[in-house]
Every structure is written in structure tokens, then in C-alpha cells.
């Protein structure tokens, strides 16, 4: 009887211990596997974020170097050459060997050079940061840009900017200006378009920018896999403004619609 009781206690103890131990071990194993999977996912995400950041940094540096190169070329080729020619003319005038007619000719040429340099400096400064944007606001700066594209190329630009009563902060205005500048630049360089339509209109508490050209558009397959730096820059600026961007390039032409909060 006592032996039977002892066996019962022993069996109960053995079964109870084993069962609870197995349950506990399963829970612990599950936790460790879960933590390991989580750590792997976090490591993969961090690696991806780091890779994206590096890619963005590389692109920003490339863009910066590209702009510096253009700036240096403009200064050296346009302004540098002309100022050297101006110096030569003034040196000749200083020597005093020339007669009145020749001196007048040199003076006129010098004036022409100075006028050209002034125009070039204005163009470079306009490209860097248009004075109209700071002094008269976005609508004015965009119209000036459109007007410049109209007169300096074979494109017809139709614009509709209605920003009265809308106060955008300086960063948003500059970002929008750069986006529009990039869109114009892409059309001029790649699209072989004849006309451009640009509208910047309020829509409830948002602003909508619509840009359209009648050029050759984008190859959808190519656009899906590799976009040029210009489009990527536009997308990054839209992301910074917490806006949304949509493209439409099926069929003829290229259309870009950007929406963002006006606040």
C-alpha cells in the first residue's frame, strides 16, 4: 500500500516536472528564435538605411560637384575670357599709340564686352538663386523663368500660377522653384517638345503643380528601373515637402502632378 503510494507520488512528481519543464523549454526556445529573427530583420533594415543614406550622400555630392563644375566653366569660359580681352583693350588704350578713331573703336568694343559680362553674371546668378524669388515671391520667379524659356528656346510656355493669399515658407518656395527649373531643364534637354503647360493652383488646403509637355515622353520600362538624377532630385524634394508625386508618360508627352500641403 505504502509502496503504491510512493510510486504514485514518484510518478506524479516525474510527470509534473517533465511536463512543466517541456512547456517552459518550448516558451524559452520560441523567445530565443523570435529574438534572433528580430535581430536579423533589424540588422537588414539598418544596412538598407545606411546604404540608402550613402547613396543619397553620393548623389548630393555628385550634384554639388556638377554645379560647381558648371559654375567654374561659366566663370572661366565666359567671364574669364572676356575680362582678359577687356584688359588687353585697356592696355592698348593706355599706351596712347592709337589715333582717335581706333581708340573710339576699342572703347566701343570694351563697352560691348562689359555688357556681355553683365548679362553673363546675371544669368549665372539667376541660375544659382533668382533675385525675383527672394524679392517678389514664387509666382513672379516662376513666370520669369517661363518667360526666359519662351524667349531663349523654340518652346511655347503656357503658365497659370494663382498663389494670391497663399503664404509658403521660403524652403518650400525654393524647393518648388528648383523642381520647376529641373522640369524645364529636362524638357529642354531630352524631350524635343514644342510646348509646355505649367499650373500652380490651390486645391482646398493643398497646392497642386501640374507640368506637361508634348515631347517624346519617357520609356515606361526604362522609367520603372532607372530614373535620371533630375527626376530623383524632384522626388526627393517632394518627399522633403511631405508631398505626393505622380507621373504620366504613356502615349505622347510627359506629365507630372505634385500635390503638397500649403501650410
Amino acid at each position: 500500500m505504502e509502496d503504491a503510494q510512493a510510486i504514485d507520488v514518484y510518478l506524479l512528481l516525474f510527470a509534473g516536472t517533465l511536463l512543466l519543464l517541456l512547456l517552459a523549454a518550448s516558451v524559452v526556445l520560441f523567445m530565443f528564435l523570435h529574438r534572433r529573427r528580430l535581430a536579423r530583420q533589424q540588422a537588414a533594415m539598418e544596412a538598407m538605411q545606411q546604404s540608402l543614406q550613402q547613396e543619397m550622400l553620393r548623389r548630393n555630392l555628385e550634384e554639388l560637384e556638377g554645379e560647381r563644375k558648371r559654375f567654374a566653366e561659366d566663370l572661366h569660359d565666359d567671364i574669364g575670357g572676356k575680362l582678359s580681352a577687356l584688359r588687353l583693350h585697356l592696355a592698348q588704350l593706355q599706351k596712347g599709340y592709337l589715333d582717335a578713331a581706333e581708340a573710339q573703336l576699342l572703347l566701343n568694343r570694351s563697352k560691348e564686352i562689359i555688357d556681355t559680362v553683365i548679362v553673363t553674371v546675371r544669368r549665372i546668378s539667376h541660375n544659382l538663386l533668382p533675385p525675383a524669388l527672394e524679392m517678389f515671391g514664387l509666382a513672379n520667379a516662376v513666370e520669369e523663368l517661363g518667360s526666359w524659356v519662351n524667349t531663349s528656346s523654340a518652346l511655347t510656355v503656357q503658365m497659370d500660377c494663382q498663389l494670391e493669399g497663399i503664404m509658403l515658407d521660403q524652403k518650400k518656395e525654393l524647393a518648388l522653384y528648383r523642381i520647376i527649373q529641373e522640369l524645364f531643364s529636362n524638357t529642354l534637354r531630352h524631350s524635343q517638345a514644342h510646348s509646355i503647360y505649367l499650373s500652380l493652383l490651390p486645391d482646398h488646403k493643398e497646392l497642386q503643380l501640374v507640368y506637361r509637355d508634348d515631347g517624346q515622353g519617357l520609356d515606361p520600362a526604362l522609367a520603372a528601373t532607372s530614373k535620371g538624377m533630375g527626376l530623383r532630385n524632384i522626388e526627393e524634394r517632394v518627399k522633403v515637402m511631405k508631398g505626393k508625386i505622380r507621373y504620366n508618360y504613356e502615349g505622347k508627352g510627359f506629365e507630372c502632378v505634385i500635390r503638397f500641403s500649403a501650410n
Partner: protein, 213 residues
Amino acid sequence: MLETLQHWLLLCSPWSSVPPVLIGIAFFRQYNRGGRILCIHLFIACIIDLSAQLLRFLNSNNLPLLHVYTLTEFILLYLFLEYHWNNFYPKRLLRSIATGFVTFSVINSLFIQNIYTFNSYARGLEALLLIIFSLLSFYRIFQDASVTAARQPVWIIAGILIYFSGAFTLFVLSNYILPLGVSLNFQIWAVHACLSIMLYVFISIGLWKMRKR
């Protein structure tokens, strides 16, 4: 062979708390509040363990120390786990449960079970509560994916869960095991010794990982 293994397990078990105590002493300043609470528990456990060994050597009944140890172990492990819950659970409710257990344990030792016998009721209830609290801790860790592994004492909680799960039935039936004969008692308490060693190994790993690098 089995008897030798049992003998060595029972001999080594009291000393298995020494490595985590040494780690605790070495890195005490580097631990957060939870880590320091655990270190204090280890110091007390080590002292009580060694005192129990001394009383056993002197052929004195050392079970009163177990009644004291049950209380301190529960309070300190509860505070350690509560620190890591970080207000994820209702603090008042869980503190009430903990206070209830402490009260019960004192009443049990004073009025219900003799202090010279195994406090199976308190020990069993302590094991059950710590199993539940460990599972709550794991659930908390599982839910909060933002907390990095390095800051979570997963090893320590795993050790607590495995030890108390394995020892729960033993604690509840401890007073029924005594009449079963010396040999059977040795076997059963050897299993407990194995669980105890595993607990302190897990705690050592956990304390090592918790130190600031």
C-alpha cells in the same frame, strides 16, 4: 555511475551561485537598477546557501533558512521583473498580488507549517507566481519589438522560468517525498540541484550580457 552523478550534483549545487555573484560584484556599477536588484538577490542567496551548508555540516536543521530565503527570493525577483516591465502591466494589481504572497508566506511560516519543515505551500505558490511573472516578462519583450536584445535580460528570465517550472511539482510534493526513502530523495533533489545549476548558469550569462560595453 548515476549515484556518483547525483552525488556531484548535490555537492556542486550550493557553489553554483558563486560565479554569478562574482560577475555581479565585478560589474555592479555598470548595471541598471534591475541588474543591481538581481545582484543583491544573488549575494543573499549565496550567503543563505553557505549558511545552510554550514548548519548541515553541524547536523542542525537548516529549513528555517529556507523560509527566509523564500521571502527574499520572491521579493527581489519580483522587483527585478517589475523593473523590466516598465509599467507595461498595471503596477498596482501586480504589487497587490506580490504583497498578498509575502503576507501568506509569513503567516504560513508562523502559523501553518512548522519552520523546521519544508514550506511547500509558500514555495509552491512562489514558483507558480514566478512562472506567471516570467511569462508576462516574455510577453512584454515579444510585444515591444523596438527594444534591442542587448537591454533585455532574456537569459535571466529564461533561467527563472525553467527553474521554477521544473521545481514546481517538487516544491508542492516536497513534504510527501521525505518518507519515500533516502535513495529516492537523493534522486529527486539531484534533479533540483541540476535545475539550480542551470538557473545560475543562465543568470551568469544574462549578467555578462547586461554589462555596459
